[in-house]
Structures are given as structure tokens and as C-alpha cells.
């Protein structure tokens, strides 16, 4: 009976081996032989002698026998492959149909699981996007691991703590640049704001930008999108006034004019020639910069003060030098610079320190809160998974009898596990899909939060180029979601599926259905215990966080800020003579006061909560003059008399 043909589906049902390709080829051979035989017999019946009949039959095939055999073998093998593949897909589709049908019959269960997973996966993905953008993703420059941030360090004073992340002055930078040998390239950069206009008739605009030195772009491994970079010829006092603009400004203000290079723009009322456009999406290390001017365009008095520190330094480590070697070399140079420009304020020397630019990308506070947030959200996801696992286990429990009956009538255990697995995968993938929607909403909310004001004043965001606006859902975050969904589906589907199909048939069929094995119950108890434990930790943590937040909100700033508006006033250097400034200010206050709806107007340099002001050293006239290093320093806030009328005490 070896010749009996049984359809593959039936073969599978009874556990018979599928047709092998060899078997299919042998079958085709037999069919071809039978055909030749039949043809020969047909010829003999017409009187052809037996000897010739077979030859004639072979000739009638139209091609040599082995050719035809090969061809038949080929097509038969391919057909078998196709059929097997199709059958596997059919099985899968059948399981999928069955799974969705089963889930639709339990809508509450399905909705709870999908919602739980969706929210948890969505939140985790959103926070992962933030972690990815703020911490994980490499800086968008060539060989970013060779970039270093170099700072000046100041020693502790009796009145003030030392700083290991200080900024540079131009004279100290020049010495450093001339004497160092560990960096291929280095540059200063400093944040600034500029007023720009095109001729007197056009509208003036206030833009962010940076003062830079010529090594800025080469250090970062960038090159201008069009035009040219500053050269050594532009990078000295008295050089022609030249500027590089951002791609964004070029698009917005100049309509992407292809003839932009050579045009003149007024920066703080002085004409500057545009010599280049920055690469797309680059707004300087401070972020969102539109205008880049050589530091040497500053007045000479701003450049020749060795103790007037205001610029950051970025440097590209030479490939021949290790990070440790670079750090050591910078420390030695720091001491050397202090000997060249000693600072009377300090009894101990100032120094210099280098660290990877990547460490400076996000302020430590931000890094810490993002990591804490991620851990909290991961906890939520874990709890959600345990919850879902619990639901899946109890669902598998309630279906034990159904599963036992299926096993009894001959369903394979593997097939049943696969069926249950597909069911949980359908749940997980639906949850993941909902999660993408939740994540999309979350990421947009985060990217829209714009702490630009905070970032500039308190400097807590680190490199502006890694601002919150750089958070977005990308392939990596989506891969993360897909990974979570699939592993949730496999792990939390496989465990109950294997458990449910393992039990002995007779026991299940005999049991009343209410009776459960003690071991299974203990698994569920473990899940419940884990869930409660996780929830308690999370609840305690979030409770503390909420308390801190409410306390923070309840802090009384000491004034009532309702209906108080602030505006920043920046006059370009030389726009108004120093002598006429008081009358200008008085006129300004008077004209704003006369606006309808205005109750009080004041000018001041230190609005409340702005986080900083200038300070100065004082000498008390009734005491002998102290040494500069221990002279008391006091904060100074300038204001017009009317300033105080704005700040009513808080209710």
C-alpha cells in the first residue's frame, strides 16, 4: 500500500511523514515510464514489432529521455516546495483566525490586556526616546569620541567654591592653542544674541548665535553647506567683517537665495558680509544659533583681558593621543597658563581640565532625572507584564479542559502551544500598536516642552544641540517597542501555554474543573506577590515625587506674579551714547506707562527667579583695606525707582 496517496493535511493529522522531494521525483519517474509503456503498447496494437515499438515511443517524446526526466524532476521539486510553504502559511493563518476568534469571544479580557500593554509599552517607548536622544545617541559629528570639552578650573576661595568647568578668555586661549600638541584642532565658542536687519528699511530681528574661532567647524568635523569657513586671514582683530549664517536663517530670511554668499547683513547695526551657510540642522553647540561671528570681530578691549572669561572650548583629540594623555597634557598646560596670566584673586593657581564632549552633552541633573524616569516607567511596564501574565495564566487555567480534550482527540502538543502562543502574540502586537500611538503622543509632548529660557540662564541642559526638541520617535525607538511587544508575547504566552498542555490527560478529564493542582496555584501566587511588591515600590516612589512637586509648587516666591510681564532690552553697542542713556531709559519708562492698561513699569537687570546677577568686591571705609582675595563680595542689582511698584507681595 506504499502507493496510496494521502493529502498532506491528513498525513500531518495522523503524524505521517510529508512527501519528500525524492518521493515526488520517483513518482514522476513512474508516471513517465507508464506513459512510455502505454505508448509502446498502443503502437504494438497497431502492428509495430515489439523491438521497434519502445524506440518509437521514446522518439515520440520529442527530446532525449534524461532531459525530460531532469525537467520533470525540477518542476516536481519546485511544486513540492511551493505546496509545503503554502501549507505552512495556511496553518499559520488558521491559527491566527482561531486566535482572533477566541479573543473576540472574550472582549473584556482582550481590552484589558491590550490597554494595559499599550499604555505601558507606549510610556516606556516615549521615555526610551528621551534616553536615546539625551544620553545614548552619539553626538552628530565625525568621530565624536575624539571630541573633548576643555575648561579652566579655579581653586576654592574662602567665600566661594572652586569651579572645575570654567570658561576661557581669548588671551589664554591663544597661549593654549600655540603651545598644545595633543589636539588636531580646537576652537572657542560663546553664546550670544544679535540684532540683524538688511538695510535700514527692513525689519530688525533678534537671533541667537555664537562667537567662534576659525577652528570651530574643522574641530567638529563639519564643513559649510555653501560658501567658505573663516580662515586665518579673517581670524584677527581688524579683519574684514564677515559672518556665517545657519541653514535655517538662510531658508527663512533669505528664501534660500543661491547667491547668498557675498550679500551684506547688518549685525548690531554694523555691515557684515555673509561668507557661508552652515550645514543643515546645525545651530551651533549652544543650539538654535542662526549667526556665527569670529570672536575677533569683538572690540579690542573685550579681547585683551586675560581674566575676562566667557567662552567654552571644544577640541579634537589627535588620533595618536589617548584620552588620559590628553587630560594630563591639558593639566600641565593649565599650570603654564596660570604662570603666564597670574590672577591676584587666588592664592592657589588656576588650572585646566579636559573631559569628553559627550559627558557635557546633558547636565548631570537632567541625565539623572531621565534615568530615574526611565527606571520608573520600566517598573510600570514590568507590572503591566506581570498583570498580563497573570491574566493569561488564569485564561489558560480556565481552558484546561478544552485543551485536554484537544490533546485527547489527537492534536499535537506543539501545535497547541503554538496556537496559545499566537494568541498571546496577537495580544502583544495589538498592545504594541496601541503603544506606538501612546508613544507618539508622549514624544510630541516632550519635544514641545521648550525650556529654552531655563537652559540659557541656569545652563542645565548642557549642549543645546541635544535639546529636548531632538527627542523623536525613530527606527531605534520603534525597534525597541517591537522588541518589547514580541518578548512580552513570547515569554508571557509561552509559560502558561507550556504549563497548560503539560498535564496528564486522564487527570484533567476526570477532574471537575474546579479542582486545581497545588503547583499551578503557587505559580499564580508568585506572580501576584511580585506584582504587589513592584507596585508598592512604585507607589512609594511616585508618592514621594508628587510630594516634592507639590512642595515645590507651594514655595512662596515672595511676590505676586499675576499680570506681570517681562521683556528683555538689548541695545546694540554704540546705538545710543552713554551720556544719553539715562534720558533714553526715562523716556522708555514714560512711554510704556502711557500705554492703556499699564499700571506700573520698571527697568532692572535682575528680575526675580532669574537665577543670577553680577557681584562686586567691596571695601568698608571705616576699616583698613583687605587683601583682594578675602575682600567681601556682594551681589548687585540695578533698578529704576519704579521697579518695585511691579512686585506686590504674594497673597
Amino acid at each position: 500500500m506504499g502507493d496510496v496517496r494521502i493529502r498532506p493535511g491528513i498525513r500531518r493529522l495522523f503524524g505521517l511523514p510529508l512527501w519528500s522531494s525524492a518521493r515526488a521525483r520517483a513518482d514522476a519517474d513512474a508516471e513517465l515510464d507508464a506513459f512510455i509503456e502505454a505508448q509502446a503498447e498502443h503502437l504494438m496494437a497497431r502492428g509495430v514489432p515489439a523491438v521497434e515499438a519502445r524506440d518509437q515511443a521514446l522518439r515520440a517524446l520529442g527530446a532525449p529521455l534524461h532531459h525530460i526526466r531532469d525537467e520533470l524532476h525540477h518542476s516536481v521539486t519546485q511544486r513540492e516546495d511551493r505546496m509545503r510553504r503554502r501549507e505552512r502559511i495556511d496553518d499559520l493563518l488558521q491559527d491566527l483566525r482561531y486566535a482572533t476568534r477566541a479573543l473576540r469571544r472574550a472582549p473584556v479580557f482582550t481590552a484589558v490586556v491590550v490597554l494595559t500593554l499599550g499604555v505601558a509599552i507606549g510610556a516606556t517607548t516615549a521615555i526610551f526616546s528621551a534616553v536615546d536622544a539625551l544620553i545614548l545617541r552619539p553626538l552628530p559629528f565625525r568621530e565624536p569620541d575624539r571630541l573633548m570639552h576643555v575648561s579652566l578650573t579655579t581653586p576654592d576661595l574662602p567665600t566661594r567654591k572652586g569651579n572645575d568647568d570654567g570658561v576661557w578668555s581669548y588671551p589664554k586661549f591663544l597661549v593654549f592653542r600655540q603651545t598644545q600638541t595633543v589636539f588636531d584642532d580646537l576652537a572657542l565658542y560663546g553664546e550670544a544674541q544679535f540684532n540683524i536687519s538688511m538695510g535700514s528699511s527692513s525689519e530688525a530681528e533678534r537671533v541667537r548665535g555664537e562667537w567662534i574661532t576659525r577652528g570651530y567647524l574643522p574641530t567638529l568635523g563639519l564643513s559649510v553647506g555653501r560658501g567658505r569657513n573663516f580662515s586665518a586671514a579673517d581670524d584677527h582683530p581688524g579683519a574684514p567683517r564677515e559672518v556665517i549664517i545657519s541653514n535655517a536663517l538662510w531658508q527663512r530670511r533669505f528664501n534660500a537665495d543661491p547667491g547668498i554668499v557675498g550679500r551684506v547683513v547688518d549685525v548690531n547695526r554694523e555691515p557684515f558680509t555673509i561668507i557661508g551657510v552652515m550645514p543643515r540642522d546645525f545651530g551651533g553647540l549652544w543650539g538654535n544659533g542662526d549667526l556665527f561671528l569670529p570672536i575677533t570681530a569683538l572690540s579690542a578691549s573685550a579681547l585683551d583681558q586675560p581674566q575676562s572669561h566667557s567662552y567654552e572650548m571644544v577640541a579634537r583629540r589627535s588620533s595618536r593621543v589617548t584620552e588620559t594623555q590628553a587630560r594630563k597634557a591639558v593639566a600641565i598646560l593649565g599650570a603654564q597658563i596660570d604662570r603666564t596670566f597670574p590672577d591676584k584673586r587666588f592664592t592657589k593657581p588656576m588650572g585646566a581640565a579636559a573631559r569628553p564632549l559627550d559627558d557635557a552633552r546633558v547636565a548631570p541633573q537632567v541625565r539623572r532625572s531621565v534615568v530615574v524616569l526611565f527606571a520608573a516607567v520600566a517598573f510600570v511596564l514590568l507590572i503591566a507584564c506581570v498583570n498580563v501574565a497573570n491574566l493569561l495564566v488564569s485564561r489558560a487555567e480556565s481552558r484546561r479542559r478544552e485543551i485536554a480534550i484537544r490533546l485527547a482527540i489527537g492534536a499535537g502538543r506543539g501545535r497547541l502551544v503554538r496556537l496559545l502562543l499566537i494568541e498571546s502574540l496577537v495580544l502583544a502586537v495589538s498592545g504594541g500598536t496601541l503603544g506606538v500611538v501612546v508613544a507618539w503622543l508622549g514624544v510630541h509632548a516632550m519635544a514641545a516642552a521648550n525650556p529654552a529660557a531655563v537652559e540659557m540662564r541656569a545652563g542645565i541642559i548642557g549642549l543645546g544641540i541635544i535639546g529636548l526638541s531632538s527627542i523623536h520617535l525613530d527606527g531605534q525607538a520603534l525597534a525597541f517597542t517591537a522588541g518589547i511587544s514580541l518578548s512580552v508575547g513570547v515569554v508571557f504566552g509561552l509559560v502558561p501555554a507550556i504549563g497548560a498542555t503539560k498535564s496528564s490527560l486522564t487527570h484533567e478529564l476526570k477532574s471537575s474543573g474546579g479542582e486545581k493542582g497545588a503547583r499551578r496555584v503557587s505559580t499564580r501566587w508568585l506572580l501576584v506577590i511580585a506584582e504587589v511588591a513592584l507596585s508598592v515600590v512604585l507607589l512609594a516612589g511616585s508618592g514621594l515625587m508628587i510630594t516634592s512637586l507639590t512642595k515645590l509648587i507651594r514655595i512662596d516666591p515672595g511676590f505676586d506674579g499675576t499680570n506681570v510681564l517681562t521683556a528683555r532690552l538689548a541695545l546694540p553697542g554704540g546705538a545710543i551714547k552713554r551720556d544719553s542713556l539715562p534720558s533714553f531709559h526715562a523716556q522708555l519708562v514714560e512711554r510704556i506707562s502711557s500705554l492703556p492698561g499699564v499700571i506700573a513699569v520698571g527697568l532692572g537687570d535682575t528680575p526675580p527667579l532669574s537665577g543670577g546677577n553680577s557681584y562686586t568686591k567691596i571695601n568698608l571705609t571705616d576699616r583698613p583695606a583687605a587683601d583682594f582675595s578675602i575682600m567681601p563680595s556682594v551681589n548687585v542689582a540695578w533698578a529704576t525707582p519704579s521697579w518695585w511698584r511691579n512686585w506686590r507681595p504674594s497673597r
Partner: protein, 107 residues
């Protein structure tokens, strides 16, 4: 006579619409019906049968001939019958169009 593409399947199905046959019976029947005008070769028929078996238009099964030899018999399935009906209608229409064009007179 060369066959138009796709017509071989229809011819084979037509043959099988009377009774299940094996490959040689099919070819013999077709050659007889066409007075030897159809120059069909065995391998082509076998390939066509395999193709249609995969598409479930025919179902093959080993059986015994009246001479007591083993042979693979093909029977037309319900799908095959529906396919034959649809395709022969289409062929008839196409042929009609072709003849109309070829028989058209100037003017």
C-alpha cells in the same frame, strides 16, 4: 498546428470532463479528435497535469489500466469544471473576435 498559449490546459480539462484518464489516454484522445492535427508530446501533457493538480483543477491517483499496468489517473475537480466552463467561453469569444477581424472586408 501550434497551440495558442493557455489552450492546452483547457483541452486537457475538456478531455477529463468525460471520465478520469491517464496521460497517454488523454494524448491519444486529443490526437484522435483532431485527426492528428494537434502535434502533442507526452511530457508537455504530464507537466500540464502537474500544474493543474497544484492549482487543484484536477486530482491525480494511481490506478490500474485494463492491461493490468500501473498508471496515474487524473479526474477533474469541481474547481476544474468551473475553470473549464469560464475558459472555454472566453476562448470562444476570443476566437470569434479574431475571425471577425480576419474576415473583415474593405469598405
Amino acid at each position: 498546428m501550434a497551440l495558442i498559449r493557455g489552450t492546452l490546459d483547457v483541452l486537457v480539462l475538456k478531455t477529463l470532463s468525460w471520465t478520469p484518464m491517464h496521460a497517454f489516454e488523454i494524448i491519444a484522445w486529443l490526437n484522435e479528435r483532431s485527426d492528428g492535427q494537434l502535434d502533442l508530446e507526452g511530457p508537455a501533457i504530464i507537466q500540464a497535469l502537474h500544474r493543474m493538480e497544484e492549482r487543484k483543477l484536477v486530482a491525480g491517483e494511481w490506478g490500474t489500466t485494463k492491461n493490468g499496468r500501473r498508471a496515474r489517473y487524473y479526474r477533474m475537480t469541481a474547481d476544474g469544471r468551473a475553470y473549464l466552463r469560464a475558459e472555454s467561453a472566453k476562448l470562444a469569444a476570443d476566437t470569434g473576435t479574431l475571425l471577425t477581424i480576419l474576415g473583415a472586408k474593405r469598405g
